[in-house]
Symmetry: C2
Subunit: 354 residues, 2 copies
Amino acid sequence: MKPANIRDVAQRAEVSVASVSRVLNGAGPVTDVTRKKVMEAVEALQYVPHSGARSLSTSRSQTVGVILPDLYGEFFSELIRGIDLAARERGYHLIVSSSHDDAGEAAAAVRSMRGRVDGLILMSPHAAVGQAAAGVTGGLPVVRLNDGAAEADRPAIVVDNHGGAVAAVKHLIALGRSRIAHIAGPNDNMEAEARLSGYLEAMAEAGLDARVIEGDFDMASGRRAGLEMARSGDSVDAVFAGNDMMALGVMLALQDAGRLCPEDVAVVGFDDVPLASLVRPGLTTLRIDIAEIGRSALVRLLAAIDGQQDTGRQIVRPELVIRGSTSDPDAQRPTTDGRPSFATTTAQGDKQDV
Amino acid sequence: MKPANIRDVAQRAEVSVASVSRVLNGAGPVTDVTRKKVMEAVEALQYVPHSGARSLSTSRSQTVGVILPDLYGEFFSELIRGIDLAARERGYHLIVSSSHDDAGEAAAAVRSMRGRVDGLILMSPHAAVGQAAAGVTGGLPVVRLNDGAAEADRPAIVVDNHGGAVAAVKHLIALGRSRIAHIAGPNDNMEAEARLSGYLEAMAEAGLDARVIEGDFDMASGRRAGLEMARSGDSVDAVFAGNDMMALGVMLALQDAGRLCPEDVAVVGFDDVPLASLVRPGLTTLRIDIAEIGRSALVRLLAAIDGQQDTGRQIVRPELVIRGSTSDPDAQRPTTDGRPSFATTTAQGDKQDV
DNA sequence: CTGTTAGCGCTTTCAA
DNA sequence: TTGAAAGCGCTAACAG
């Protein structure tokens, strides 16, 4: 009835539990005959070691915790996918926990991981939440993701949102646009803030007037912004949105208002969600390799678990992907296989340590 | 240095470990004074119980395993989200494991869950994989998802793909279309198979000729199918695609070929991915509430863990969502707030037990 | 090379 | 109401 344990195996194989353990872990000396007896017993009893018990005695759970603010949309599934792939390769399990939008919940989630995981990947775009969560890890190794508030001397991976925004604006300026508006993300979001500041800086540097419209990272808010722009007879000739979904909302609104993109208004987004390459015109955006960030976070976490002094923050630089929403309508581009017929080119460097 | 354990707390509070345990679990009799002493010690030492140890002694890990074939795309993130939400409400943790496309891997994943989880949610559209994985659970409660091969007398949730396909075809016929093609999904995928069989059945019943084109659930394959259709001068006036991504590919191809949708060719997809409501015309499709399936799976799993004899398969009936890709172009529809301006209406029942 | 045994940190009888 | 002690299933010293 109940699954066999190591003692059952030992008994059946007529050896000690220690020998069974040694055989199963490939550690320590064992004769072939012992090994065979053990394997037979294991087979016969369908024995599978109890990993919980093993964790307790080795104080290694071979599991890492992933704490996310949310789980909605492709951003998070890509992130988890990247982490999971890397974890699986290394024999680690993943325990995920999401929807931690307030500090108390996040801290509770971190605490509840104690005794379950060997380390934590912690993401939170809200400064306070990240701090609170990071404060209660009790010596557990942690890698923080997109957490502007992370101390510079602890493991963290952050996207260079500011730099990406600057690149977006410069791209638009290079296209000859000058009345460039920005649709900002939520106030309390550190990424939104960094993108806004990059926009402001680039505009100021170019001696252009800034125009900021509030948004909340949702498509609907981008749409509202676009409608308002169109209605107000505003002579905006380009928009840099705080993320792709808002950029797409703007494009839809412009389309409805009979304004052409990119001819009348060029649009740039941020993130390169899959949708960005599927709409027409394709959306120029700042691409982040999300899965790769996940992979990298896991690798660094395991290094930290192994006691390596891996501190410092790693900066991921988004890559400008130029598509139809800002490309020169005169230029004729080749068609890519099976994909909408606008070109995809890239600029600016790849991610790198700093 | 090392986190405090229950003995440290007991010592500091000058009580026995048993009392500490009783206080922390709210179980058993304790005087207020003991409770206070314990709480103070807990506070002072920042004590957090070691859940691994607790699991070992209670043989309850408060964790469920989720085994998925993949993690790519919004389908899976929605599913995990639904499961996670429900799990969190009930104090359960989630350990996810993906990329199990072959039977051996899936079985290994299931085995490696032993001693870590109290039950398993297992999804696999490949019959063989599902069988293999389900075969090695060793008495662990399991709920199977979208697994046509699941025995009818064990907990499972399956989507009525066949019925959905029939509804799609009937909808197209009701629109007056008769030359209806089907873009099928991969051969070895049970869902693709069921959708195909629904299509064939509905066509046969209506006395119409079937036309099946092979696809693989990817947008590119839908695009190829659409191009071929357009090139061959085929007089197809409607397409039912095996999933939304292929349907979108078809729409793009038709658009490129200068054929109007829905006037020339009406298109229906399956799944209702977020994209379906964002493209223009909006894609008519069969909607499945993925997060709700996840939630339901978790609830049933916990019931099974609690020893309830919850057997039988639950059938989820997809809901036909009619959008612009099949709607009557003459009819004028109201605009929804912040959304593209085509109407969304629904038909056919919601999910229910059978 | 193998077996005995003492934990890992917690829960839970069973006595006191 | 409390405490002592026996496990939960496994690993890892330590003896043999």
